[in-house]
Amino acid sequence: MLKNYIKIAWKVLLRRKFFTFISLFGISFTLMVLMVVTALFDHTFGPQMPEQKTDELLFVNIMREQRDGGFMSSGPPSYYFLNRYVHTLETPENVSINSVFVTVNSYVNNKKLALDIKFTDAQFWQILDFNFLEGKPFGKQEVAYASRVAVINENTRRQYFGTGEAIGQEIEVDQVNYKVVGVVEDVPVLRLHSYADIWVPITLRSQEFKNTGLRGTYFATIKARQAADIPGIKNEYAHMMQEVERQNPEKGTALHSFPDSILESFARTLLGKGREGKLGLLYVILTGITLLFMLLPTINLININISRIMERSSEIGVRKAFGASSNTIIGQFVVENVFLTLIGGLFGFALSALVLEMINDSRLIAYADLSLNLRVFAWGLLLCLIFGLISGVYPAFKMSRLHAVEALKGGSK
């Protein structure tokens, strides 16, 4: 049955080349746009080197203080707060404290390099899965002694050392010399919590540790033993925050800080004013935008499909006369349409791969390595099917209602 449907679908596609082209163009471009957006989304929020086990990771990046009278300030938390309260949480397996990256200048061979530097502890390297190309990370000892050692990314290595030896060499950054101990694969800039060009021990900034305010320039990365522990960690964190708020010398100040996944934190900042988690709302909005975007191509496809199917009213009449029920007819046209959509999907995949390659090459996003991985592929396939169903069901339904007698006459109504 399926084989027969596909056979006839194929024949119709070949016979009406112009209509086929219109449909395939619409489908493949719509899917291409959706796939590129999905890839960008996945690149920003999905598991990605070095944040691979996203379901076991939480990030703390905002401390929000709200005083009486509505005055509000928010920004990254301080080292003091993270070290004293977050480091001591009991549920997590591991906690890393690291600085927000800052851009500093370096001069190499009369050329200026703007490098993003990040100060981290030893746990940072245990929690995250960096791809070490050479050498290894700095450990507890180097951090304890505030050694001037650095892990650099591939790009910085190329700029500084070219093809020569890098490990063990000195690198001058912002008038300070560091010894290179490791080289890692470039981390995309969208991974705000892990990204940098050069990573050095956090203890080199120990003068900032004295600041006992709650706000500063640090992030925390929390690793759970297993994904199931995440709610427990959030709970413990919330209790801890209540305690911090109670002990806060400035009375009447409401404090908000949450351990979030990347997407949760994005939704909270964008939609929840930094207080409420609005992940659900974010999903609703994203779905809405997607549907809105798909609306026009879908209407277009419905129009084309109606014309295309109308042409075959005689076929519908014959099929009905020889025993096809209305549902069978709907089934046939939906299958045909899904088949067409899948072909369009194939083109769409090729196009998206091309566009993603172009985005990567254009260096619009530093160190972006957008690709169509299996997850994006699965999403694309799902989108294909939804698209095929939406644009196929209405015309099929309309045509199946056609009376066999009229259909045989030519189906003008």
């Binding site: 009369n110 912002d174 003068q207 209407i299 277009n300 084309i304 109606i306 014309s307 619009l364």
Partner: protein, 385 residues
């Protein structure tokens, strides 16, 4: 054509949504374009920006370093002028605002900038009325400010602004000493918003450290000087984190921030519209093929090819007009309700352009099929039936 309601309904919906998409994108493009054509009010070429982050706790120490830094920078022969500023320098990502009131003008949201006397030379600012800051302001009782044209209009309308006192709080007043035409600091695509400069007096503002330093260098000064300068400066300000960037590179990243989403949106919109055009063409073509017998009959009854041609174009134009009327009704709500606070001018132009584009699109899609319809011979058409 009235009994083909359903297929026309789909066409109308399609035109309606196409119009809305075009209208939205056009509004954005026109808004940005109109802003882009306005003057910035300053000259960013050969201007460098140094951001400063002190790392020591001692305020007295930091203040000393701050003064030494400025002196050293002015000492370089490649530097024409230098001035401290808040971190909201041109094309920066940080912004500062203030709400000002004067008379009936209440709570005008205004961008606030701080400048030393030398900033006029660094950014080559043009003062239209009055004067820029000078040493004579050291002794003034009120804080002197220079305002831009938009703020003058918002606060004082047609009145003369010079010498007016703007209340800030119970004890402080700003005194307007100068008016400049434009100052649009954040991006070339930003709207002309109210803005004012207040004067930095390093002797007076005792405990404040300025986060940014702007300097104008002689044309052709390059990285070699930058490295030399930074080496010397970090000798003065040990442990400080300093970062240099040219305003030109900062401008480019700002431009990218506006242009990249706009181009992406434009491409997506262009694709959607092209898609619709192809679909429209296909549907019209199909419809005309299906109506060959009707055309044959009309021809047999004496209609000329030209009349057939006009009839088909006319039919599709009526359908299009329905879709557009519906679209204009919705789009018309934007200027009426003042959504997004864009000027009605932007919306109206966007509506007009979108309407024109849709008509052009529809006509070009209908031209070929209609010509085909007109070319049908009555005999063959009737024979087919």
């Amino acid at each position: 054509m009235w009994n083909r309601k359903k297929s026309n309904f789909l066409l109308i919906t399609e035109i309606f949504f196409s119009f809305l998409v075009l209208f939205g994108v056009m509004s954005l493009v026109i808004y940005n374009y109109l802003n882009y054509t306005k003057p910035l009010g300053y000259d960013y070429e050969n201007v460098w920006h140094i951001s400063l982050r002190p790392n020591s706790d001692s305020t007295a120490q930091n203040r000393l370093v701050q003064e030494q830094l400025l002196q050293r920078i002015r000492g370089f022969q490649q530097v024409e002028a230098a001035s401290y500023s808040n971190s909201n320098v041109p094309f920066a990502f940080s912004q500062m605002g203030m709400s000002l009131s004067y008379g009936n003008a209440k709570d005008v949201q205004t961008n606030a900038f701080d400048a030393q006397d030398d900033l006029k030379d660094v950014l080559r600012l043009q003062v239209r009325e009055g004067r820029w800051f000078g040493p004579q302001d050291d002794a003034s009782t009120h804080k002197p400010v220079v305002i831009n044209g938009m703020l003058k209009q918002k606060l004082f309308g047609e009145e003369d602004a010079l010498g007016k006192l703007i209340p800030v709080d119970d004890s402080t007043h700003y005194k307007v000493v100068g008016v400049m035409d434009y100052y649009r600091a954040y991006s070339e695509y930003d709207a002309d918003a109210p803005a004012y400069f207040s004067r930095i007096n390093l002797q007076e503002n005792n405990n404040h450290l300025w986060g940014s330093l702007l300097l104008r260098v002689k044309p052709g000064t390059g990285v070699a000087f930058e490295e030399k300068m930074m080496k010397e400066l970090s000798g003065i300000a040990k442990d400080w984190t300093m970062e240099v960037a040219t305003l030109e590179t900062m401008r480019q990243s700002k431009v990218r921030l506006t242009l990249v989403p706009m181009i992406a949106l434009g491409l997506v919109c262009g694709f959607l519209i092209f898609n619709v055009a192809l679909g429209l063409f296909g549907v019209l073509w199909y419809n005309i093929n299906k109506r060959t017998s009707e055309i044959g009959l009309r021809r047999a009854m004496g209609a000329t090819a030209g009349q057939i041609y006009k009839q088909f174009l006319g039919e599709i134009l009526v359908v299009t007009t329905f879709g557009l009327l519906l679209g204009c009704f919705f789009a018309g709500q934007f200027p009426l309700l003042g959504v997004f606070e864009l000027s009605p001018e932007v919306y109206v132009t966007a509506i007009l352009i979108a309407v024109a584009l849709i008509y052009i699109l529809v006509i070009s899609c209908a031209l070929y099929p209609s010509r085909q319809a007109a070319a049908i011979h009555p005999a063959t058409a009737l024979h087919e039936e």
